[in-house]
Symmetry: C2
Subunit: 287 residues, 2 copies
Amino acid sequence: MAPRKMIDASAPAEGGGIALAEDVSAGPGREDPLFINSLAKGLGVLKAFDGDWDALGLREIAARSSISMGAAQRITHTLVRLGYLRKDDRTRRYRLSARMLDFAYHYLHASPLYEVAIPFVASARDDCRETVNVAELDGPEVVAVIRMPSQRRMNPTSTIGRRLPAFCTAGGRAQLAWLPQDELADILDRTDFQPRTPRTITDRAEVERRLEIAQREGFALVDEEVNLGEIAVAAPILDGNGRPLAAVGVSTSTAHWTVEAARERLAPVVMETARRISRSLRGWKPF
Amino acid sequence: MAPRKMIDASAPAEGGGIALAEDVSAGPGREDPLFINSLAKGLGVLKAFDGDWDALGLREIAARSSISMGAAQRITHTLVRLGYLRKDDRTRRYRLSARMLDFAYHYLHASPLYEVAIPFVASARDDCRETVNVAELDGPEVVAVIRMPSQRRMNPTSTIGRRLPAFCTAGGRAQLAWLPQDELADILDRTDFQPRTPRTITDRAEVERRLEIAQREGFALVDEEVNLGEIAVAAPILDGNGRPLAAVGVSTSTAHWTVEAARERLAPVVMETARRISRSLRGWKPF
DNA sequence: ACGCTCTTATCGCAATGCGATAACTAATTT
DNA sequence: AAATTAGTTATCGCATTGCGATAAGAGCGT
Protein backbone atom coordinates (compact mmCIF):
# COMPACT_ATOMS: atom_id res chain seq x y z
CA MET A 1 0.00 0.00 0.00
CA ALA A 2 2.93 2.26 0.07
CA PRO A 3 1.74 5.00 -2.22
CA ARG A 4 5.08 5.12 -3.90
CA LYS A 5 4.60 6.27 -7.39
CA MET A 6 7.25 5.16 -9.74
CA ILE A 7 6.86 7.44 -12.59
CA ASP A 8 8.89 5.93 -15.31
CA ALA A 9 9.91 7.93 -18.27
CA SER A 10 7.77 6.13 -20.73
CA ALA A 11 6.56 8.72 -23.10
CA PRO A 12 9.19 11.16 -24.11
CA ALA A 13 7.98 11.09 -27.65
CA GLU A 14 5.08 13.42 -27.80
CA GLY A 15 5.35 16.85 -26.40
CA GLY A 16 2.04 17.49 -24.74
CA GLY A 17 -0.23 14.70 -23.88
CA ILE A 18 -1.40 13.20 -20.70
CA ALA A 19 0.78 11.65 -18.10
CA LEU A 20 -0.12 8.10 -18.78
CA ALA A 21 1.93 6.22 -16.26
CA GLU A 22 0.38 8.36 -13.62
CA ASP A 23 -3.15 7.13 -13.65
CA VAL A 24 -2.61 3.58 -14.64
CA SER A 25 -3.62 2.21 -11.31
CA ALA A 26 -6.22 4.53 -9.89
CA GLY A 27 -7.34 5.31 -13.35
CA PRO A 28 -10.55 7.05 -14.00
CA GLY A 29 -11.33 6.71 -17.66
CA ARG A 30 -9.00 9.05 -19.45
CA GLU A 31 -9.68 11.00 -22.53
CA ASP A 32 -7.86 8.85 -25.00
CA PRO A 33 -10.19 6.24 -26.28
CA LEU A 34 -7.54 4.79 -28.53
CA PHE A 35 -5.11 4.11 -25.75
CA ILE A 36 -5.05 0.47 -24.72
CA ASN A 37 -4.29 0.35 -21.09
CA SER A 38 -3.57 -3.31 -20.76
CA LEU A 39 -0.91 -3.07 -23.40
CA ALA A 40 0.76 -0.21 -21.61
CA LYS A 41 0.65 -2.11 -18.35
CA GLY A 42 2.11 -5.18 -19.94
CA LEU A 43 5.03 -3.30 -21.39
CA GLY A 44 5.39 -1.56 -18.06
CA VAL A 45 5.86 -4.91 -16.39
CA LEU A 46 8.59 -5.81 -18.84
CA LYS A 47 10.27 -2.56 -17.94
CA ALA A 48 10.01 -3.29 -14.27
CA PHE A 49 12.82 -5.79 -14.60
CA ASP A 50 15.20 -2.95 -14.57
CA GLY A 51 18.02 -2.98 -12.11
CA ASP A 52 20.28 -5.92 -11.71
CA TRP A 53 17.87 -7.38 -9.29
CA ASP A 54 17.28 -10.95 -10.14
CA ALA A 55 14.03 -12.79 -10.33
CA LEU A 56 11.02 -10.79 -9.16
CA GLY A 57 8.01 -12.01 -7.26
CA LEU A 58 4.48 -11.14 -8.20
CA ARG A 59 4.13 -8.69 -5.40
CA GLU A 60 7.23 -6.80 -6.33
CA ILE A 61 6.23 -6.68 -9.95
CA ALA A 62 2.91 -5.17 -8.99
CA ALA A 63 4.60 -2.62 -6.79
CA ARG A 64 7.23 -1.63 -9.31
CA SER A 65 4.82 -1.13 -12.14
CA SER A 66 2.16 0.35 -9.88
CA ILE A 67 -0.57 -2.00 -10.91
CA SER A 68 -2.90 -4.14 -8.88
CA MET A 69 -1.88 -7.65 -8.01
CA GLY A 70 -4.67 -9.00 -10.08
CA ALA A 71 -3.31 -7.22 -13.09
CA ALA A 72 0.19 -8.40 -12.31
CA GLN A 73 -1.13 -11.91 -12.15
CA ARG A 74 -2.83 -11.73 -15.49
CA ILE A 75 0.02 -9.96 -17.19
CA THR A 76 2.73 -12.28 -15.98
CA HIS A 77 0.60 -15.21 -16.94
CA THR A 78 0.21 -13.82 -20.43
CA LEU A 79 3.87 -12.94 -20.81
CA VAL A 80 4.94 -16.37 -19.66
CA ARG A 81 2.60 -17.93 -22.12
CA LEU A 82 4.05 -15.81 -24.89
CA GLY A 83 7.55 -16.71 -23.81
CA TYR A 84 8.83 -13.31 -22.73
CA LEU A 85 8.91 -14.15 -19.07
CA ARG A 86 10.14 -17.30 -17.47
CA LYS A 87 8.93 -18.55 -14.18
CA ASP A 88 10.77 -20.60 -11.65
CA ASP A 89 8.14 -22.96 -10.30
CA ARG A 90 10.08 -23.53 -7.14
CA THR A 91 10.59 -19.97 -6.03
CA ARG A 92 7.57 -18.62 -7.90
CA ARG A 93 9.63 -15.81 -9.20
CA TYR A 94 9.82 -14.40 -12.68
CA ARG A 95 12.66 -13.28 -14.88
CA LEU A 96 13.05 -12.09 -18.42
CA SER A 97 13.56 -14.72 -21.06
CA ALA A 98 15.99 -14.57 -23.93
CA ARG A 99 13.02 -13.89 -26.12
CA MET A 100 13.31 -10.28 -25.09
CA LEU A 101 16.19 -10.11 -27.52
CA ASP A 102 13.77 -10.78 -30.35
CA PHE A 103 12.82 -7.14 -30.25
CA ALA A 104 16.39 -6.05 -30.60
CA TYR A 105 16.82 -8.43 -33.47
CA HIS A 106 13.82 -7.05 -35.29
CA TYR A 107 14.86 -3.52 -34.71
CA LEU A 108 18.42 -4.02 -35.85
CA HIS A 109 17.26 -5.74 -38.98
CA ALA A 110 14.70 -3.14 -39.86
CA SER A 111 17.43 -0.92 -41.20
CA PRO A 112 20.55 -1.68 -43.20
CA LEU A 113 22.63 0.36 -40.81
CA TYR A 114 23.54 -2.53 -38.60
CA GLU A 115 24.74 -4.93 -41.21
CA VAL A 116 26.53 -2.33 -43.24
CA ALA A 117 28.29 -0.79 -40.28
CA ILE A 118 29.54 -3.95 -38.57
CA PRO A 119 32.64 -4.63 -40.66
CA PHE A 120 33.72 -1.01 -40.60
CA VAL A 121 33.28 -0.83 -36.87
CA ALA A 122 35.24 -4.03 -36.39
CA SER A 123 38.01 -2.66 -38.50
CA ALA A 124 38.06 0.63 -36.62
CA ARG A 125 38.26 -1.17 -33.33
CA ASP A 126 41.22 -3.15 -34.54
CA ASP A 127 42.92 -0.03 -35.78
CA CYS A 128 42.82 1.85 -32.52
CA ARG A 129 42.34 -1.07 -30.14
CA GLU A 130 39.76 0.86 -28.21
CA THR A 131 36.03 0.48 -27.70
CA VAL A 132 34.10 1.54 -30.78
CA ASN A 133 30.36 2.05 -30.86
CA VAL A 134 27.50 3.26 -32.99
CA ALA A 135 24.69 5.20 -31.40
CA GLU A 136 21.41 6.56 -32.65
CA LEU A 137 19.66 9.68 -31.55
CA ASP A 138 16.24 9.14 -30.00
CA GLY A 139 14.81 12.42 -28.87
CA PRO A 140 17.13 14.02 -26.33
CA GLU A 141 18.95 10.76 -25.75
CA VAL A 142 21.36 8.54 -27.61
CA VAL A 143 20.96 4.80 -27.71
CA ALA A 144 23.87 2.44 -28.23
CA VAL A 145 23.20 0.27 -31.23
CA ILE A 146 26.54 -1.40 -31.85
CA ARG A 147 29.25 -1.92 -29.33
CA MET A 148 32.67 -3.43 -29.98
CA PRO A 149 34.55 -3.32 -26.70
CA SER A 150 38.26 -3.31 -26.32
CA GLN A 151 39.85 -5.85 -24.07
CA ARG A 152 40.20 -3.29 -21.38
CA ARG A 153 37.26 -3.36 -19.07
CA MET A 154 35.56 0.02 -19.08
CA ASN A 155 33.85 1.47 -16.05
CA PRO A 156 30.22 0.73 -16.62
CA THR A 157 30.21 -1.67 -19.52
CA SER A 158 27.99 0.11 -21.91
CA THR A 159 25.58 -2.29 -23.51
CA ILE A 160 23.41 -2.30 -26.56
CA GLY A 161 20.31 -0.33 -25.73
CA ARG A 162 22.01 1.85 -23.16
CA ARG A 163 20.62 5.36 -23.09
CA LEU A 164 22.56 8.47 -22.28
CA PRO A 165 21.73 12.15 -22.61
CA ALA A 166 22.67 13.42 -26.05
CA PHE A 167 23.88 16.84 -24.99
CA CYS A 168 26.92 15.59 -23.11
CA THR A 169 27.95 12.52 -25.10
CA ALA A 170 30.20 12.48 -28.11
CA GLY A 171 27.78 10.45 -30.19
CA GLY A 172 24.93 12.72 -29.20
CA ARG A 173 26.75 15.91 -30.06
CA ALA A 174 28.00 14.51 -33.32
CA GLN A 175 24.39 14.08 -34.37
CA LEU A 176 22.97 17.22 -32.83
CA ALA A 177 25.59 19.30 -34.61
CA TRP A 178 24.39 18.14 -38.01
CA LEU A 179 20.70 18.52 -37.30
CA PRO A 180 18.63 21.31 -38.84
CA GLN A 181 18.35 24.32 -36.53
CA ASP A 182 14.70 23.88 -35.65
CA GLU A 183 15.05 20.24 -34.74
CA LEU A 184 18.12 20.96 -32.68
CA ALA A 185 16.31 23.71 -30.83
CA ASP A 186 13.38 21.40 -30.19
CA ILE A 187 15.61 18.73 -28.71
CA LEU A 188 17.57 21.14 -26.57
CA ASP A 189 14.28 22.54 -25.31
CA ARG A 190 13.40 19.12 -24.07
CA THR A 191 16.83 18.46 -22.62
CA ASP A 192 17.48 18.33 -18.93
CA PHE A 193 20.98 19.68 -18.56
CA GLN A 194 21.87 17.61 -15.55
CA PRO A 195 25.59 17.15 -14.92
CA ARG A 196 26.85 13.59 -14.91
CA THR A 197 30.30 14.51 -13.67
CA PRO A 198 31.82 17.72 -12.34
CA ARG A 199 33.06 18.33 -15.85
CA THR A 200 29.75 18.07 -17.66
CA ILE A 201 28.86 21.23 -19.53
CA THR A 202 25.41 22.22 -18.36
CA ASP A 203 25.09 25.57 -20.02
CA ARG A 204 22.99 25.38 -23.14
CA ALA A 205 24.77 28.20 -24.90
CA GLU A 206 28.12 26.58 -24.25
CA VAL A 207 26.82 23.27 -25.55
CA GLU A 208 25.66 25.04 -28.69
CA ARG A 209 29.10 26.53 -29.10
CA ARG A 210 30.62 23.07 -28.87
CA LEU A 211 28.22 21.86 -31.50
CA GLU A 212 29.41 24.53 -33.88
CA ILE A 213 32.99 23.55 -33.27
CA ALA A 214 32.13 19.91 -33.85
CA GLN A 215 30.40 20.79 -37.09
CA ARG A 216 33.41 22.72 -38.25
CA GLU A 217 35.95 20.09 -37.24
CA GLY A 218 33.93 17.14 -38.44
CA PHE A 219 33.80 15.34 -35.10
CA ALA A 220 32.75 15.83 -31.50
CA LEU A 221 35.08 15.33 -28.58
CA VAL A 222 33.87 14.94 -25.03
CA ASP A 223 36.28 15.00 -22.15
CA GLU A 224 35.09 13.34 -18.94
CA GLU A 225 31.60 14.78 -19.23
CA VAL A 226 29.87 11.41 -19.05
CA ASN A 227 32.17 9.42 -16.82
CA LEU A 228 35.28 10.58 -15.09
CA GLY A 229 38.34 9.07 -16.68
CA GLU A 230 36.68 8.70 -20.05
CA ILE A 231 37.36 10.54 -23.28
CA ALA A 232 35.09 10.00 -26.26
CA VAL A 233 35.25 11.06 -29.89
CA ALA A 234 32.49 10.65 -32.44
CA ALA A 235 31.54 11.53 -36.00
CA PRO A 236 28.14 11.40 -37.69
CA ILE A 237 26.91 8.90 -40.24
CA LEU A 238 24.99 10.99 -42.77
CA ASP A 239 22.40 10.08 -45.34
CA GLY A 240 22.28 11.48 -48.85
CA ASN A 241 20.74 14.71 -47.62
CA GLY A 242 23.34 15.31 -44.98
CA ARG A 243 21.01 14.28 -42.24
CA PRO A 244 22.57 12.33 -39.35
CA LEU A 245 21.41 8.74 -39.01
CA ALA A 246 23.74 7.71 -36.22
CA ALA A 247 27.25 8.34 -34.96
CA VAL A 248 30.41 6.30 -34.77
CA GLY A 249 32.33 6.82 -31.59
CA VAL A 250 35.39 5.69 -29.71
CA SER A 251 35.58 5.69 -25.95
CA THR A 252 38.84 5.50 -24.16
CA SER A 253 40.48 6.12 -20.86
CA THR A 254 42.37 9.14 -19.62
CA ALA A 255 44.82 6.66 -18.18
CA HIS A 256 46.10 5.90 -21.64
CA TRP A 257 45.10 8.88 -23.74
CA THR A 258 45.25 12.63 -23.59
CA VAL A 259 42.77 14.90 -25.28
CA GLU A 260 45.39 15.92 -27.78
CA ALA A 261 46.26 12.35 -28.65
CA ALA A 262 42.60 11.50 -29.08
CA ARG A 263 42.08 14.48 -31.30
CA GLU A 264 45.01 13.52 -33.43
CA ARG A 265 44.76 9.77 -33.66
CA LEU A 266 41.19 8.84 -32.78
CA ALA A 267 39.25 11.58 -34.51
CA PRO A 268 40.54 10.66 -37.98
CA VAL A 269 39.51 7.06 -37.40
CA VAL A 270 35.92 7.84 -36.45
CA MET A 271 35.57 10.37 -39.24
CA GLU A 272 36.87 7.98 -41.82
CA THR A 273 34.76 5.12 -40.49
CA ALA A 274 31.65 7.26 -40.44
CA ARG A 275 32.36 8.45 -43.95
CA ARG A 276 32.73 4.91 -45.24
CA ILE A 277 29.54 3.75 -43.60
CA SER A 278 27.70 6.80 -44.90
CA ARG A 279 28.83 6.04 -48.42
CA SER A 280 27.80 2.41 -48.18
CA LEU A 281 24.36 3.46 -47.05
CA ARG A 282 23.58 5.88 -49.85
CA GLY A 283 20.42 5.04 -51.61
CA TRP A 284 18.51 4.08 -48.56
CA LYS A 285 16.22 6.78 -47.32
CA PRO A 286 15.09 6.77 -43.72
CA PHE A 287 12.18 8.89 -42.72
CA MET B 1 -30.73 -6.55 -38.91
CA ALA B 2 -28.61 -8.18 -36.38
CA PRO B 3 -25.74 -9.12 -38.55
CA ARG B 4 -23.32 -8.38 -35.83
CA LYS B 5 -23.00 -11.89 -34.73
CA MET B 6 -19.63 -13.36 -34.58
CA ILE B 7 -19.20 -16.71 -35.76
CA ASP B 8 -15.85 -16.61 -34.23
CA ALA B 9 -16.64 -19.55 -32.09
CA SER B 10 -14.33 -21.46 -34.33
CA ALA B 11 -11.74 -18.75 -34.44
CA PRO B 12 -10.96 -17.90 -30.88
CA ALA B 13 -9.60 -14.44 -30.75
CA GLU B 14 -6.19 -15.59 -29.88
CA GLY B 15 -3.53 -13.00 -30.23
CA GLY B 16 -2.11 -12.94 -33.66
CA GLY B 17 -1.93 -16.58 -34.49
CA ILE B 18 -0.18 -16.53 -37.80
CA ALA B 19 2.60 -14.04 -37.53
CA LEU B 20 4.02 -15.56 -34.40
CA ALA B 21 6.73 -17.94 -35.34
CA GLU B 22 6.36 -20.03 -32.27
CA ASP B 23 3.50 -22.15 -31.19
CA VAL B 24 2.32 -19.23 -29.20
CA SER B 25 -1.16 -20.49 -29.38
CA ALA B 26 -2.23 -23.92 -30.06
CA GLY B 27 -5.51 -22.50 -28.93
CA PRO B 28 -5.01 -20.37 -25.85
CA GLY B 29 -7.68 -17.90 -26.70
CA ARG B 30 -10.17 -20.53 -25.62
CA GLU B 31 -10.72 -20.76 -21.96
CA ASP B 32 -7.86 -18.95 -20.37
CA PRO B 33 -9.36 -16.20 -18.36
CA LEU B 34 -5.97 -14.97 -17.32
CA PHE B 35 -4.76 -14.44 -20.83
CA ILE B 36 -4.85 -10.79 -21.84
CA ASN B 37 -5.52 -10.67 -25.49
CA SER B 38 -4.75 -7.06 -26.12
CA LEU B 39 -1.30 -7.53 -24.70
CA ALA B 40 -0.64 -10.48 -26.97
CA LYS B 41 -1.87 -8.54 -29.94
CA GLY B 42 0.28 -5.58 -29.07
CA LEU B 43 3.39 -7.70 -28.85
CA GLY B 44 2.35 -9.41 -32.03
CA VAL B 45 2.35 -6.09 -33.80
CA LEU B 46 5.85 -5.40 -32.59
CA LYS B 47 6.86 -8.74 -34.01
CA ALA B 48 5.22 -7.96 -37.33
CA PHE B 49 8.10 -5.67 -38.13
CA ASP B 50 10.09 -8.67 -39.03
CA GLY B 51 11.80 -8.77 -42.38
CA ASP B 52 13.93 -5.98 -43.64
CA TRP B 53 10.88 -4.31 -44.97
CA ASP B 54 10.86 -0.74 -44.08
CA ALA B 55 8.09 1.32 -42.63
CA LEU B 56 4.73 -0.44 -42.53
CA GLY B 57 1.32 1.05 -43.12
CA LEU B 58 -1.63 0.40 -40.92
CA ARG B 59 -3.19 -1.96 -43.34
CA GLU B 60 -0.12 -4.09 -43.64
CA ILE B 61 0.34 -4.20 -39.91
CA ALA B 62 -3.19 -5.45 -39.51
CA ALA B 63 -2.67 -8.10 -42.15
CA ARG B 64 0.65 -9.32 -40.82
CA SER B 65 -0.51 -9.68 -37.27
CA SER B 66 -3.92 -10.91 -38.33
CA ILE B 67 -5.88 -8.42 -36.36
CA SER B 68 -8.66 -6.09 -37.38
CA MET B 69 -7.79 -2.65 -38.62
CA GLY B 70 -9.49 -1.16 -35.65
CA ALA B 71 -7.22 -3.07 -33.36
CA ALA B 72 -4.20 -2.11 -35.43
CA GLN B 73 -5.24 1.47 -35.14
CA ARG B 74 -5.54 1.35 -31.38
CA ILE B 75 -2.39 -0.64 -30.88
CA THR B 76 -0.18 1.51 -33.06
CA HIS B 77 -1.57 4.57 -31.38
CA THR B 78 -0.69 3.14 -28.01
CA LEU B 79 2.76 2.00 -29.04
CA VAL B 80 3.56 5.36 -30.57
CA ARG B 81 2.47 7.05 -27.40
CA LEU B 82 4.70 4.77 -25.38
CA GLY B 83 7.59 5.44 -27.73
CA TYR B 84 8.10 1.98 -29.16
CA LEU B 85 6.84 2.87 -32.59
CA ARG B 86 7.55 5.96 -34.58
CA LYS B 87 5.26 7.35 -37.17
CA ASP B 88 6.12 9.31 -40.22
CA ASP B 89 3.34 11.86 -40.46
CA ARG B 90 3.92 12.36 -44.13
CA THR B 91 3.74 8.79 -45.35
CA ARG B 92 1.58 7.62 -42.45
CA ARG B 93 3.82 4.66 -42.00
CA TYR B 94 5.23 3.17 -38.84
CA ARG B 95 8.59 1.80 -37.90
CA LEU B 96 10.23 0.51 -34.77
CA SER B 97 11.92 3.04 -32.57
CA ALA B 98 15.26 2.63 -30.87
CA ARG B 99 13.31 2.14 -27.71
CA MET B 100 12.93 -1.46 -28.71
CA LEU B 101 16.49 -1.90 -27.59
CA ASP B 102 15.43 -1.10 -24.05
CA PHE B 103 14.24 -4.65 -23.73
CA ALA B 104 17.58 -6.03 -24.78
CA TYR B 105 19.26 -3.74 -22.33
CA HIS B 106 17.11 -4.90 -19.47
CA TYR B 107 17.59 -8.49 -20.36
CA LEU B 108 21.34 -8.30 -20.70
CA HIS B 109 21.63 -6.52 -17.40
CA ALA B 110 19.44 -8.95 -15.55
CA SER B 111 22.30 -11.40 -15.34
CA PRO B 112 26.00 -10.90 -14.73
CA LEU B 113 26.84 -13.07 -17.71
CA TYR B 114 27.02 -10.24 -20.16
CA GLU B 115 29.32 -7.96 -18.25
CA VAL B 116 31.56 -10.72 -17.06
CA ALA B 117 31.92 -12.34 -20.45
CA ILE B 118 32.62 -9.27 -22.56
CA PRO B 119 36.32 -8.83 -21.87
CA PHE B 120 37.03 -12.53 -22.30
CA VAL B 121 35.14 -12.62 -25.56
CA ALA B 122 36.99 -9.57 -26.81
CA SER B 123 40.26 -11.17 -25.93
CA ALA B 124 39.32 -14.43 -27.65
CA ARG B 125 38.34 -12.61 -30.78
CA ASP B 126 41.68 -10.85 -30.86
CA ASP B 127 43.50 -14.12 -30.34
CA CYS B 128 41.97 -15.93 -33.27
CA ARG B 129 40.82 -12.95 -35.31
CA GLU B 130 37.54 -14.65 -36.06
CA THR B 131 33.95 -13.98 -35.04
CA VAL B 132 33.33 -14.94 -31.43
CA ASN B 133 29.90 -15.17 -29.89
CA VAL B 134 28.02 -16.20 -26.79
CA ALA B 135 24.68 -17.90 -27.13
CA GLU B 136 22.07 -19.04 -24.67
CA LEU B 137 19.80 -22.01 -24.93
CA ASP B 138 16.10 -21.18 -25.02
CA GLY B 139 14.10 -24.35 -25.48
CA PRO B 140 15.12 -26.06 -28.70
CA GLU B 141 16.80 -22.94 -29.99
CA VAL B 142 19.89 -20.92 -29.25
CA VAL B 143 19.85 -17.16 -29.04
CA ALA B 144 22.89 -15.05 -29.75
CA VAL B 145 23.61 -12.87 -26.76
CA ILE B 146 27.04 -11.47 -27.52
CA ARG B 147 28.58 -11.12 -30.92
CA MET B 148 32.06 -9.87 -31.68
CA PRO B 149 32.50 -10.07 -35.43
CA SER B 150 35.75 -10.37 -37.24
CA GLN B 151 36.52 -7.91 -39.96
CA ARG B 152 35.57 -10.44 -42.56
CA ARG B 153 31.97 -10.12 -43.51
CA MET B 154 30.18 -13.36 -42.76
CA ASN B 155 27.31 -14.65 -44.83
CA PRO B 156 24.25 -13.65 -42.91
CA THR B 157 25.57 -11.29 -40.31
CA SER B 158 24.35 -12.94 -37.19
CA THR B 159 22.95 -10.38 -34.84
CA ILE B 160 22.16 -10.25 -31.19
CA GLY B 161 18.84 -11.98 -30.69
CA ARG B 162 19.23 -14.22 -33.69
CA ARG B 163 17.66 -17.63 -33.17
CA LEU B 164 18.90 -20.88 -34.63
CA PRO B 165 17.99 -24.48 -33.92
CA ALA B 166 20.11 -25.88 -31.11
CA PHE B 167 20.56 -29.36 -32.52
CA CYS B 168 22.71 -28.31 -35.46
CA THR B 169 24.64 -25.36 -34.08
CA ALA B 170 27.90 -25.52 -32.19
CA GLY B 171 26.64 -23.34 -29.38
CA GLY B 172 23.49 -25.40 -29.12
CA ARG B 173 25.25 -28.72 -29.01
CA ALA B 174 27.79 -27.46 -26.52
CA GLN B 175 24.93 -26.79 -24.15
CA LEU B 176 22.79 -29.80 -24.96
CA ALA B 177 25.74 -32.07 -24.32
CA TRP B 178 26.04 -30.88 -20.74
CA LEU B 179 22.36 -30.99 -19.94
CA PRO B 180 20.86 -33.66 -17.66
CA GLN B 181 19.49 -36.59 -19.63
CA ASP B 182 15.84 -35.87 -19.03
CA GLU B 183 16.05 -32.26 -20.04
CA LEU B 184 18.01 -33.17 -23.13
CA ALA B 185 15.42 -35.75 -24.09
CA ASP B 186 12.68 -33.23 -23.55
CA ILE B 187 14.32 -30.71 -25.83
CA LEU B 188 15.09 -33.23 -28.53
CA ASP B 189 11.49 -34.36 -28.39
CA ARG B 190 10.45 -30.85 -29.20
CA THR B 191 13.06 -30.44 -31.91
CA ASP B 192 12.21 -30.31 -35.56
CA PHE B 193 15.20 -31.91 -37.25
CA GLN B 194 14.97 -29.86 -40.38
CA PRO B 195 18.17 -29.66 -42.44
CA ARG B 196 19.56 -26.20 -43.00
CA THR B 197 22.16 -27.34 -45.48
CA PRO B 198 22.82 -30.65 -47.25
CA ARG B 199 25.28 -31.41 -44.51
CA THR B 200 22.99 -30.92 -41.55
CA ILE B 201 22.69 -34.04 -39.43
CA THR B 202 19.00 -34.75 -39.13
CA ASP B 203 19.12 -38.10 -37.43
CA ARG B 204 18.41 -37.79 -33.75
CA ALA B 205 20.54 -40.78 -32.78
CA GLU B 206 23.46 -39.38 -34.71
CA VAL B 207 23.02 -36.01 -33.07
CA GLU B 208 23.05 -37.72 -29.69
CA ARG B 209 26.28 -39.46 -30.64
CA ARG B 210 27.83 -36.12 -31.51
CA LEU B 211 26.74 -34.79 -28.15
CA GLU B 212 28.57 -37.58 -26.39
CA ILE B 213 31.68 -36.85 -28.38
CA ALA B 214 31.37 -33.16 -27.58
CA GLN B 215 31.00 -33.96 -23.91
CA ARG B 216 34.10 -36.13 -23.99
CA GLU B 217 36.19 -33.67 -25.95
CA GLY B 218 35.04 -30.61 -24.10
CA PHE B 219 33.75 -28.76 -27.14
CA ALA B 220 31.33 -29.11 -30.04
CA LEU B 221 32.36 -28.74 -33.66
CA VAL B 222 29.87 -28.19 -36.44
CA ASP B 223 30.94 -28.40 -40.04
CA GLU B 224 28.71 -26.61 -42.54
CA GLU B 225 25.54 -27.79 -40.87
CA VAL B 226 24.12 -24.31 -40.41
CA ASN B 227 25.50 -22.45 -43.40
CA LEU B 228 27.59 -23.82 -46.18
CA GLY B 229 31.10 -22.54 -45.96
CA GLU B 230 30.95 -22.11 -42.22
CA ILE B 231 32.69 -24.05 -39.48
CA ALA B 232 31.83 -23.39 -35.86
CA VAL B 233 33.32 -24.51 -32.58
CA ALA B 234 31.82 -23.92 -29.15
CA ALA B 235 32.29 -24.80 -25.49
CA PRO B 236 29.86 -24.44 -22.61
CA ILE B 237 29.91 -21.91 -19.83
CA LEU B 238 29.00 -23.88 -16.71
CA ASP B 239 27.70 -22.83 -13.35
CA GLY B 240 28.84 -24.25 -10.03
CA ASN B 241 26.72 -27.34 -10.50
CA GLY B 242 28.02 -28.09 -13.95
CA ARG B 243 24.87 -26.84 -15.58
CA PRO B 244 25.33 -24.99 -18.88
CA LEU B 245 24.40 -21.31 -18.78
CA ALA B 246 25.51 -20.42 -22.29
CA ALA B 247 28.20 -21.29 -24.80
CA VAL B 248 31.17 -19.49 -26.26
CA GLY B 249 31.63 -20.11 -29.92
CA VAL B 250 33.78 -19.17 -32.87
CA SER B 251 32.48 -19.12 -36.40
CA THR B 252 34.78 -19.15 -39.33
CA SER B 253 34.93 -19.83 -43.01
CA THR B 254 35.96 -22.97 -44.84
CA ALA B 255 37.82 -20.66 -47.17
CA HIS B 256 40.42 -20.05 -44.50
CA TRP B 257 40.09 -22.96 -42.12
CA THR B 258 39.90 -26.71 -42.27
CA VAL B 259 38.12 -28.82 -39.73
CA GLU B 260 41.45 -30.08 -38.42
CA ALA B 261 42.86 -26.59 -38.04
CA ALA B 262 39.72 -25.47 -36.23
CA ARG B 263 39.89 -28.45 -33.91
CA GLU B 264 43.48 -27.75 -33.12
CA ARG B 265 43.63 -23.98 -32.88
CA LEU B 266 40.07 -22.77 -32.30
CA ALA B 267 38.78 -25.40 -29.88
CA PRO B 268 41.38 -24.63 -27.23
CA VAL B 269 40.47 -20.95 -27.41
CA VAL B 270 36.76 -21.45 -26.86
CA MET B 271 37.35 -23.99 -24.11
CA GLU B 272 39.72 -21.73 -22.28
CA THR B 273 37.48 -18.72 -22.72
CA ALA B 274 34.45 -20.62 -21.51
CA ARG B 275 36.38 -21.92 -18.54
CA ARG B 276 37.49 -18.43 -17.57
CA ILE B 277 34.02 -17.02 -17.83
CA SER B 278 32.63 -19.95 -15.87
CA ARG B 279 35.07 -19.33 -13.10
CA SER B 280 34.32 -15.63 -12.95
CA LEU B 281 30.65 -16.40 -12.62
CA ARG B 282 30.84 -18.80 -9.71
CA GLY B 283 28.70 -17.75 -6.86
CA TRP B 284 25.82 -16.63 -8.94
CA LYS B 285 23.04 -19.11 -9.16
CA PRO B 286 20.62 -18.95 -12.02
CA PHE B 287 17.40 -20.80 -11.79
C1' DA C 1 3.16 -26.87 14.78
C1' DC C 2 1.29 -22.17 13.93
C1' DG C 3 1.54 -17.77 12.21
C1' DC C 4 2.84 -14.99 8.45
C1' DT C 5 3.58 -13.56 3.63
C1' DC C 6 3.05 -14.27 -0.88
C1' DT C 7 0.82 -16.66 -4.65
C1' DT C 8 -3.13 -18.96 -7.16
C1' DA C 9 -7.88 -19.49 -8.17
C1' DT C 10 -12.70 -17.79 -8.53
C1' DC C 11 -16.52 -14.40 -9.43
C1' DG C 12 -19.76 -10.79 -10.56
C1' DC C 13 -19.63 -6.28 -12.70
C1' DA C 14 -18.96 -2.53 -15.70
C1' DA C 15 -15.57 -0.25 -17.87
C1' DT C 16 -12.75 -1.23 -21.72
C1' DG C 17 -11.56 -2.29 -25.86
C1' DC C 18 -14.04 -4.35 -29.94
C1' DG C 19 -15.59 -4.32 -35.04
C1' DA C 20 -18.23 -1.90 -38.35
C1' DT C 21 -19.01 2.22 -40.61
C1' DA C 22 -18.50 6.79 -42.00
C1' DA C 23 -15.68 10.84 -42.95
C1' DC C 24 -11.51 12.17 -44.66
C1' DT C 25 -6.95 12.62 -47.19
C1' DA C 26 -3.37 11.37 -50.38
C1' DA C 27 -2.08 9.18 -54.36
C1' DT C 28 -3.39 7.36 -59.26
C1' DT C 29 -6.04 7.21 -63.22
C1' DT C 30 -8.54 9.17 -67.08
C1' DA D 1 -7.67 18.70 -63.97
C1' DA D 2 -11.74 15.95 -62.09
C1' DA D 3 -12.72 11.35 -60.79
C1' DT D 4 -11.62 7.12 -58.83
C1' DT D 5 -9.39 4.37 -55.54
C1' DA D 6 -6.51 2.84 -51.63
C1' DG D 7 -5.59 3.78 -47.23
C1' DT D 8 -5.98 6.32 -42.76
C1' DT D 9 -8.55 8.73 -39.01
C1' DA D 10 -12.55 9.48 -36.23
C1' DT D 11 -16.96 7.97 -34.15
C1' DC D 12 -20.37 4.85 -31.88
C1' DG D 13 -23.12 1.40 -29.53
C1' DC D 14 -22.50 -2.98 -27.42
C1' DA D 15 -20.82 -7.23 -25.51
C1' DT D 16 -16.57 -8.87 -24.17
C1' DT D 17 -12.77 -8.59 -21.64
C1' DG D 18 -10.18 -7.62 -18.36
C1' DC D 19 -10.90 -5.51 -13.66
C1' DG D 20 -10.38 -5.54 -8.32
C1' DA D 21 -11.75 -7.88 -4.26
C1' DT D 22 -11.88 -11.93 -1.90
C1' DA D 23 -11.10 -16.60 -0.69
C1' DA D 24 -8.29 -20.61 -0.83
C1' DG D 25 -3.65 -22.59 -1.07
C1' DA D 26 1.76 -22.89 -0.51
C1' DG D 27 6.11 -21.94 1.56
C1' DC D 28 8.85 -20.18 5.03
C1' DG D 29 10.58 -18.79 9.32
C1' DT D 30 10.26 -19.04 14.37
